[in-house]
């Protein structure tokens, strides 16, 4: 896992829940087939835009609702490398970490706009907004969670600790 992540942002509001990210009616499809429907209630073009916008930014309570891992799996499939929010719903947060997607709490997430070029330093806990020439402090990822992200997610961590084959 790179400790510095660069990319362009997509920006959404508060309470982007898992029914929005991964609409239940398409969950019987594969992640690839369901991905075109991701976020359709708020941004039907998300699946196109996500390809060259690798940073998913939202306001408060990102990922509320269902435990469905299809939400972060879909984001990952579409090219999302990191998610940023003022704060996360807990199961979504854990799902991101378990899949090796850094989830960063940033009180100033609302200052970020769609298309902004960002440089995120995971270790320092800082976001540089190149487009706006601003810098935001964000929550540092706790050590026990960083270990999981470094291993590429829970499965990588388990391979290291329990030993898979």
């Amino acid at each position: 896992m790179e400790r510095i992540i660069k990319g362009k942002a997509l920006k959404y509001g508060d309470n982007i829940n898992t029914d929005i990210i991964s609409p239940p009616q398409y969950m019987e499809l594969s992640i690839a087939d369901a991905a075109v429907h991701a976020m359709r209630a708020v941004d039907p073009d998300f699946h196109v835009k996500a390809k060259d916008h690798s940073i998913f930014v939202a306001g408060a309570n990102l990922g509320s609702g269902s435990s469905r891992e299809t939400a972060p799996l879909t984001l990952k499939y579409l090219g999302t490398e990191v998610v940023i929010a003022r704060f996360f719903a807990r199961i979504f947060y854990r799902n991101c970490i378990n899949l090796g997607i850094p989830a960063i709490e940033c009180p100033e997430a609302d200052k970020i706009s769609e298309g902004d070029a960002l440089v995120i330093d995971l270790e320092l806990g800082a976001i540089e907004n190149i487009s706006k020439n601003e810098c935001y402090r964000c929550g540092k990822i706790p050590a026990h969670i960083f270990e999981l992200i470094e291993a590429g997610g829970l499965i990588g961590y388990l391979h290291n600790s329990v030993g898979g084959r």
């Binding site: 929005i20 019987e28 891992e69 199961i91 854990r94 997610g153 499965i155």
Partner: protein, 419 residues
């Protein structure tokens, strides 16, 4: 210093003498539950192959096909078949299908015991807190980790204490109490925390009703929603549990991060308006809103108590013309009991269509989706945009009584006027 239920349960599960909010613990999981939609098919079946393709303890695993039952498409049927075959291939004896939403089955069949740690691949797993368990939802990859090791890491949560004193008036149900709590705390107000429900209004409720409250703890962002085990819990569990339970209670001097006090005696029927569960209003503020569908069912509002009380309200009356009145008992067992008592007959005579016990309607997978511009009142737990079908449909959440009253009126109505 005193400890909360959560601190005690998680300390025991981690093999420690004591734990405090904020501690990160690796805990032993007492019961791991998977459903069809987010169970073996998502990451788990493939991932487990790299770890010997065996679960740590087959008797602690429960698999319940409930979302895609009965299947509405070949794809859904194949997912249920995959889940069934996977359970058999991994010697999971506790496999159930077509018998109703997983949380009800877990409670009914004795898989949730007081003081235990229960994880499930569905966010409403927190319903187990009504029986005094530390029960919470997890994602599929986390479940894979549990299947390999029998453990997961949890941060011991701070606890919000919610006291409901007094007694609910006639026509007001636990669902109203639950919605009021969520409206006050907010849909993210308990994020990363546990909620403990206490007070005379809670202890007077039957276990069926308590489950409707704990079920919705996650709608405040909570990790768990707990109630202490009492004589009613024991009576409910009698003969169901395979093991002796390890019920925990909070100490009198336990530390809470926040406390709320509510008076049940003054509570009115509450309605959560689109598209957030904390968008809660007194029914008198939204009465008269036309509906196209009334849904009585789900793991939140389809238990025997719910069906009985709704049947009492509609008895001898008829649903409004032009609307659908759908009823899904929360389990096969509830279906049979309601049938024996004549409850299903009364509902059917009022114009209700009795559906299979299933998650399908609540989460818009089959059996009653909404089209653009349609409006539904539902006794289920979530009213997010697009959940029951079109993103241009609207979902209002209310008690089983509010659903029954709306079915009769064809619009949102104050159920107390029909008692």
């Amino acid at each position: 210093m005193g400890k909360t239920m959560s601190e005690k349960i998680l300390a025991r599960a981690a093999g420690k003498d004591a734990a405090s909010a904020g501690d990160i613990l690796w805990v032993d999981v007492d019961r791991a539950m998977m459903d069809d939609i987010l169970g073996p098919r998502v990451e788990i079946a493939e991932g487990l192959k790299a770890f010997g393709d065996a679960v740590w303890d087959a008797d602690k695993v429960v698999i319940i096909s409930d979302h895609y039952t009965p299947p509405a498409s070949v794809k859904q049927a194949e997912i249920v078949k995959f889940t069934r075959d996977w359970a058999a291939a991994h010697n999971i004896r506790n496999y159930f299908e077509f018998v109703g939403p997983c949380h009800q089955i877990m409670a009914e069949r004795g898989f949730v015991s007081p003081g235990s740690v229960v994880l499930g691949t569905d966010s409403h797993t927190c319903m187990g807190g009504a029986l005094g368990a530390f029960a919470t939802g997890v994602g599929s990859t986390e479940m894979l980790g549990v299947l390999v090791t029998g453990k997961t890491w949890l941060r011991v949560p701070e606890t919000i204490r919610v006291e409901w004193s007094g007694e609910l008036p006639a026509g007001v149900m636990a669902k109203d109490l639950s919605l009021k709590t969520i409206g006050m705390i907010g849909h993210a107000g308990a994020t990363y925390k546990a909620v403990e429900y206490v007070g005379t209004a809670i202890s007077k409720l039957p276990v069926d009703e308590r489950m409707a409250i704990a079920n919705m703890a996650v709608e405040m962002g909570a990790k768990a929603g707990l109630m202490e085990c009492d004589a009613k819990t024991e009576a409910f569990l009698n003969g169901k549990l395979a093991e002796t339970h390890r019920a925990e209670t909070s100490d009198a001097d336990a530390v809470y991060c926040e406390s709320f006090d509510f008076d049940a005696g003054t509570l009115a029927p509450m309605i959560a308006c689109p598209h957030e569960v904390d968008n809660v209003f007194d029914v008198r503020d939204v009465r008269g809103t036309d509906i196209d569908q009334a849904y009585l069912g789900s793991c939140t509002g389809g238990r025997l108590h719910d069906l009985r009380i709704a049947a009492n309200l509609v008895k001898g009356r008829r649903k409004a013309d032009g609307i659908r009145f759908l009823v899904s008992p929360a389990s096969q067992e509830i279906w049979e009991a309601a049938e024996k008592e004549g409850v299903l007959g009364v509902l059917a005579e009022a114009g209700a269509v009795i559906l299979a016990p299933t998650c399908g309607v609540c989460v818009g997978l089959h059996s009653g989706l909404l089209g653009a511009g349609e409006r539904c009142i539902s006794s289920s737990n979530r009213n997010f945009i697009g959940r029951m079908g079109s993103k241009d449909a609207e979902i209002y959440l209310g008690s089983p009584l509010s659903v029954a009253a709306a079915a009769l009126a064809g619009r949102i109505a104050d159920s107390r006027e029909y008692l």
